[in-house]
């Protein structure tokens, strides 16, 4: 619990290397969509599958970063970030469904023989409003939940379980057909986004680039936050909340700010995820998904900014390999990962590397 959080520490460990590796990774990420535009059969061509997979992992990496902001810095382990992610995804999905349905109702509504759109679908035919919703819905929910939770000083495991219960409740709600979000099946068979064919290589490439941009932006935001006095207050809050209060800081405001910010980031990641993956359904809100995000952060190293990204990449990479090669053993592997990381890698991979670097 007491690793120095300042980025300066990591800079000491080898700022040049960090920068060089970061730049290389960024270059590869920028090159991927361009390579995907090459004609099929070209030796350097990146398949749509790979691009989607990497894009998906990048979205997850943003979630990991968002989770790290609240867990690694403010010490609030959220087991409900999947809810914010899915809400963002659903907001974008609403737009995509409207776009696919044209002037009519989305297919699942006609199937339920509904004659008009529920009120909360109003305006979702506009991309801009859907994008706003993708931030507003998770943001508002986080605001309300956080307000009450932080007001009564719910923290630690209590907070974690409350967030888990929240996402569980959300999942149950979205499973219902009457909620108006496609029930079990959620949203799928999207066609166009802003008039572009959603399955076209060029659309995929642009979406991918947008994801990279969001990731870089979130990383920069996180870096600025961590360096600001705000970041130090968060760290202080994590380690000695009472002391902070007697110093005259109101922890609620700080927690609420970072909590809502994190939720909004997740919402945006969800909004980018849905058009790339082409489906959103309530299982995104399952507690399992959210808690998996925690292991990304833990594996990478919480309280660092690069760690969660690394963790998200590693775990998801492993997952996609395992679920193809040994599907029935993936859960064993994931379970073991949870145990081993918490037991032997309390500071994650980044912590391990730093230690090596210091020696």
């Amino acid at each position: 619990m007491n690793q120095p959080l300042l980025v300066t520490a990591s800079q000491k460990a080898g700022p040049r290397w960090t920068l060089a590796i970061g730049a290389a990774v960024l270059l590869v990420l920028l090159a991927l969509p361009l390579l995907s535009l090459l004609p099929a059969g070209h030796s350097l061509q990146v398949s749509a599958y790979t691009l989607t997979l990497v894009g998906k992992i990048l979205c997850y990496a943003i979630v990991a970063l968002a989770l790290d902001l609240v867990w690694g810095y403010a010490g609030l382990l959220s087991l409900g970030h999947g809810l914010f992610f899915a809400l963002g995804g659903y907001a974008m999905g609403m737009y995509l469904m409207r776009e696919a349905a044209g002037d009519g109702l989305p297919a699942f509504m006609t199937f339920l023989s509904w004659s008009e759109l529920p009120w909360y679908w109003a305006g979702t035919q506009h991309f801009a409003w859907a994008l706003c919703l993708a931030m507003l819905a998770p943001g508002l929910l986080a605001l309300v939940f956080g307000f009450f939770a932080f007001r009564s000083r719910i923290k630690g495991v209590y907070f974690s379980i409350m967030t888990q219960a929240l996402t569980f409740a959300g999942m149950l709600l979205f499973f219902r057909n009457e909620t108006g979000f496609g029930g079990n099946n959620g949203f799928t068979s999207f066609r166009r986004i802003l008039g572009f064919e959603i399955t076209a290589q060029s659309t995929r490439a642009v979406l991918f680039l947008l994801t990279v941009a969001l990731l870089v932006a979130s990383l920069y935001l996180g870096w600025r936050l961590a360096r600001s006095k705000f970041g130090r207050v968060l760290t202080a809050l994590r380690d000695a909340e009472n002391r902070l209060m007697f110093c005259g800081y109101d922890p609620r405001g700080f927690k609420l700010f970072v909590w809502v910010l994190s939720a909004v980031l997740c919402g945006l990641a969800g909004a980018l995820y849905v058009p790339q993956v082409g489906i959103i359904n309530p299982s995104e809100m399952s507690p399992t998904n959210s808690i998996e995000a925690a292991v990304w952060v833990a594996l990478g190293g919480r309280g660092t900014l690069i760690g969660p990204l690394l963790g998200a990449g590693l775990v998801n990479g492993m997952k996609s390999w395992f679920t193809v090669a040994f599907p029935e053993y993936w859960l064993f592997c994931l379970g073991a990962l949870f145990i081993l990381v918490t037991l032997y890698l309390p500071r994650g991979v980044v912590g391990l590397l730093k230690k090596r670097g210091e020696q």
Partner: protein, 499 residues
């Protein structure tokens, strides 16, 4: 000679019932469905004890007792058989049989049976059968030509809390059915009366299912409350301890079936110690190997135990398959007590409520009357101080963890008797049981008790009003609001704030 004739005649006379029965049976089988129906109606109106055997065989889908041939009857005929049989059973000397028959007749009696029922009603000595018959008659008398009879019948129906009476009265009140004003008003009053009684039954039923859910939550949360209070960690694999207990029950069931089929009725009792041992063993193993190393890091423990739960689930999936396995209720746990016409309390649930309370008492005794309990309480309140006083905290942790897991195992046995047993069984309980712990306050048995039953009843009362999902969400919101008022739970120890 005359003497011989006389004997022959007597003998024939004695054989007559048999002959009648044989004739009836043949006649019945030969008849077409319509004819069979008419036959059954006739029999119902004029019962003859000789036909009792035939009718009860018919009810079981056979022609005669011991006859292996299956008889196919449609639903309507089956209903008529039931009715005719009940009619015959009214002649029984056993008042319990008569009562059951009268209850059946309340549902199924036909106008043609009025005369017969009237006779039995007049001659009935047993009070409860008498009342039941009165009701059965009242059902029929609603269409009597005499308004006074109808009025009396309507009033009588009002006295009951029977769902049947409600439909009867509602039909009566439909426009154009009843012309006499006084009967109509009486029917309206009676209907309101019946509805009120039904509502009471419904509410009691909901409260009961709430209690039942509460007892399950209690069994699930009790162990969690102990380990959480003691170690300050949430065992996310706690739900899997329930699941292990349920699977242990399943295995015991199979083993008993195979090796000691005569004891099958008692397999849940055999399963109790087995389930306790399995869950407690796994729990202690986990404590020793994983959780021990994470003390003081509650959030990490949460994640690690989640990992454990994933592994346990997948192991069970590989061993027993991903499908639900079948755990059957023994005979003494099936069925239930009819308390009100629309309220049946199943034995299985009654037993589980009692069992949950029993486990609470046992846990209380264990915590308050034994050395281990004293140690557990000491460590819960002040770990360092307890260690200084020579309490072997490590051992206490392990044993308490085993105890908590074992109780969950017992909960698993209970769960297996009322729900599906599958690898995901535990997942659905972990959140609810944690909410119980949050609501009840840490380390407080009384708190857990009230919280579990409170949550259970609130859940079940809300369910019919706003649906199960919204009910759950509302309850979550209520708990969050409740914590605003009482952050330490219902039953918190107050004291100086320690830093």
């Amino acid at each position: 000679m005359p003497k011989a004739l006389q004997r022959l005649f007597l003998g024939l006379l004695l054989l007559l019932p048999l002959a009648v029965q044989a004739a009836d049976a043949d006649y019945f089988i030969a008849a077409k469905a319509n004819e069979q129906a008419r036959l059954l109606q006739d029999w119902a109106a004029q019962p003859d004890p000789a036909r009792l055997e035939l009718l009860s065989s018919l009810q079981q889908g056979r022609i005669a007792p011991g006859d292996t041939r299956k008889l196919r009857l449609n639903n309507r005929l089956r209903g008529l058989v039931d009715n005719a049989l009940a009619s015959h059973q009214l002649l029984s000397t056993d008042s319990a049989v008569r009562l059951a028959a009268a209850r059946q007749l309340q549902k199924s009696a036909q106008p043609a049976q009025v005369a017969f029922l009237d006779r039995r009603f007049a001659g009935e000595a047993d009070a409860s059968v008498h009342a039941a018959l009165a009701l059965a008659l009242a059902n029929l008398q609603l269409v009597d030509s005499d308004p006074a009879v109808r009025l009396a019948a309507v009033r009588l129906l009002g006295e009951t809390g029977d769902p049947m009476a409600r439909t009867r009265l509602q039909t009566l009140l439909e426009p154009g059915v009843e012309s006499t004003a006084s009967v109509r008003t009486a029917a309206e009053t009676s209907l309101a009366q019946v509805k009120r009684k039904l509502l009471i039954g419904e509410l009691l039923g909901q409260a009961f299912s709430g209690l039942s859910l509460g007892s399950i939550l209690l069994l699930a949360a009790l162990g969690l409350a102990i380990t959480f209070g003691l170690l300050g960690v949430i065992n996310m694999a706690h739900g899997e301890m329930l699941m292990l207990g349920a699977y242990a029950t399943y295995v015991v069931q199979i083993l008993v079936q195979r090796y000691a089929p005569e004891a099958i009725a008692f397999y849940p009792l055999i399963a109790l110690p087995v389930a306790f041992a399995v869950s407690a063993g796994v729990g202690m193993l986990l404590e020793r190997t994983v959780i021990r190393h994470l003390y003081g890091r509650p959030l990490e423990t949460l994640l690690a135990t989640w990992g454990i739960s994933l592994i346990l689930i997948q192991t069970i999936r590989l061993l027993f398959g991903a499908q639900n396995v079948e755990v059957a209720n023994p005979a003494w746990l099936s069925g239930g007590i009819q308390v009100l016409p629309n309220l049946v309390l199943p034995y299985s649930r009654l037993v589980i409520i009692a069992f949950a309370l029993f486990v609470v008492v046992l846990t209380w005794l264990l915590l308050n009357r034994t050395r281990l309990g004293l140690n557990v309480r000491a460590v819960t309140q002040n770990r360092n101080m307890a260690a200084c006083c020579g309490v072997p905290t490590g051992r206490v942790d392990m044993l308490a963890f085993g105890l908590g897991s074992g109780i969950a195992g017992l909960g698993g046995v209970a769960l297996s008797q009322i729900g599906n047993v599958g690898p995901d069984l535990g997942q659905s309980y972990i959140i609810d049981s944690f909410l119980v712990v949050v609501l009840g306050g840490v380390g407080q048995l009384a708190g857990s008790l009230w919280a579990a039953f409170g949550l259970g009843i609130a859940n079940k009362l809300l369910e019919p009003q706003i649906g199960a999902v919204l009910g759950k969400i509302l309850i979550l919101a209520l708990i969050i609001l409740f914590i605003q008022k009482r952050p330490q739970g219902l039953f918190a120890l107050k004291g100086r704030v320690i830093d």
